[in-house]
């Protein structure tokens, strides 16, 4: 970029900022619910200051050069925050694109006499701003991926709770597909909890498992055997009619395992094993 244009943009920084803000505020997709106007202005100002001070460098078009790292850092920071705040890609993209428009508009107003220079300078601005947009999107997507990864972790974390339903009785509702990794977590949690609570009965509830194939069945059988080795009995409950039919057709033998249709009947069975009784109290209450 020629020294003259650089000087020009530096002097017109305020104009560009105003124009850019105007563009952003006029945009229909402006998310006032996610970001305040003041915050938007300070973000914009920070970016534009970093950008303008870079325009004179030798490596103007080379984004990999060190001179650009502050700009990329600022832009990346903004993109990541926006991804986390829940901005859409279009809204994030418009942030950079409206800056390009603002700069081009100012150039057009200032360089009126020499169309050739205007064209060359505009082209340079275009190139660099497009590169910056790509950087924005890359960081934006990275931010989103982080969100997804965190959610995946959270899901595996929360999806294997061991519940103490009664003194000596544990329940473990399984929701979703039971793969090897999940089975490992389920088994670990269950066995650990059996030791800690000294429970003698564990109920595995598979109401939330969409399909039981041979591998899931194998995992269930393994979990039951491991529980038995710990000296506890394991009941599998929540077997829906369609699951029962499928298991029979597959030819899986679950006859060695105590199975119940519902968690309630599994609990009732456990009470019987533990010689407990649930009774309705026949006293007349005075209301």
């Amino acid at each position: 970029m020629s020294l003259k244009t650089h000087q020009l943009l530096k002097n017109k920084k305020k104009n560009i900022l105003e124009l850019w803000m105007k563009n952003q505020l006029a945009d229909e997709s402006l998310r006032e619910d996610l970001i305040s106007n003041d915050e938007l202005r300070s973000q914009s100002e920070e970016l534009i200051t970093a950008l303008v001070s870079n325009l004179s460098g030798e490596n103007f078009t080379n984004l990999d050069s060190d001179e650009w790292s502050p700009v990329i850092e600022i832009l990346g920071g903004i993109a990541i925050t926006r991804a986390r705040q829940g901005f859409s890609p279009r809204e994030t993209g418009n942030f950079v694109f409206s800056l390009k428009e603002a700069i081009l508009d100012v150039l057009q107003q200032e360089i009126t006499s020499d169309p050739m220079t205007l064209f060359i300078e505009s082209q340079k601005i275009n190139r660099i701003m497009d590169n910056l947009s790509v950087v924005t999107f890359e960081t934006f997507i990275k931010g989103r991926e982080e969100v997804i990864l965190r959610q995946t972790d959270e899901i595996t974390e929360i999806s294997t709770p061991v519940i103490r339903v009664w003194d000596g009785i544990l329940a473990l509702p399984i929701i979703g597909t039971l793969d090897s990794a999940r089975t490992q977590i389920v088994m670990e949690n269950l066995l650990q909890e059996i030791v800690e609570t000294g429970s003698s009965i564990a109920i595995l509830d598979i109401s939330g498992v969409p399909a039981v194939d041979s591998l899931v069945a194998q995992h269930l059988i393994k979990t039951v055997s491991a529980t038995r080795l710990m000296g506890a009995e394991c009941i599998i409950s929540g077997i829906r009619p369609e699951i029962a039919q499928t298991v029979v057709h597959l030819g899986i033998d679950l006859s060695n395992i105590i199975t119940k249709a519902t968690l309630a009947s599994a609990l009732a069975y456990s009470f019987k094993v533990m010689r407990l009784e649930v009774k309705k109290i026949n006293t007349v209450s005075k209301f």
């Binding site: 597909t177 793969d179 969409p210 399909a211 039981v212 194939d213 041979s214 591998l215 899931v216 069945a217 194998q218 009619p241 369609e242 699951i243 039919q245 499928t246 057709h249 597959l250 030819g251 899986i252």
Partner: protein, 137 residues
């Protein structure tokens, strides 16, 4: 004479693709108003086959088709991979036979779950398994 009404190709390469595939199979089954029991059977069969594909062939491709024959609709799934292939199909189709320390019920069980089952395999080239489940059959 069976007619293919819609075709959907899904690449299965990662563990996450398995869940995606199962959801698509379920959606397709629901779309043609397949009964709940048959849905579960088809889903379990698909689950078995896609697991085999992941385990022995590091993934492959699944084609989900809605097929029609006369007045009945059904779902046809074609699983093809470029894995090591199955040397002895007759043995693989026997209950309790497994080379991978599993229950050995996957292939024979799947055959019992669906209406039509076809397996083609060539050692060193890969395996193609086609299954078909009618909406009410």
């Amino acid at each position: 004479m069976t007619l293919s009404l819609s075709k959907d190709t899904i690449q299965v390469l990662k563990e996450q693709d398995v869940v995606f595939l199962k959801n698509r199979v379920k959606e397709t089954a629901v779309k043609i108003k397949m009964g709940l029991v048959n849905q579960t059977r088809l889903l379990t069969a698909a689950s078995e086959l896609v697991r085999n594909m992941m385990r022995y062939a590091d993934g492959g491709v699944c084609i989900i088709e809605v097929v029609s024959s006369g007045r009945v609709n059904g779902v046809r799934l074609t699983f093809s991979d470029r894995g090591p292939g199955i040397p002895d199909i007759d043995a693989a189709m026997r209950d309790g036979f497994s080379t991978g320390r599993s229950l050995g019920l996957g292939l024979p069980g799947t055959k019992r779950l669906v209406n039509e089952f076809d397996i083609k395999s060539k050692v060193g080239e890969g395996t193609v398994i086609t299954i078909l489940k009618w909406a009410n059959g």
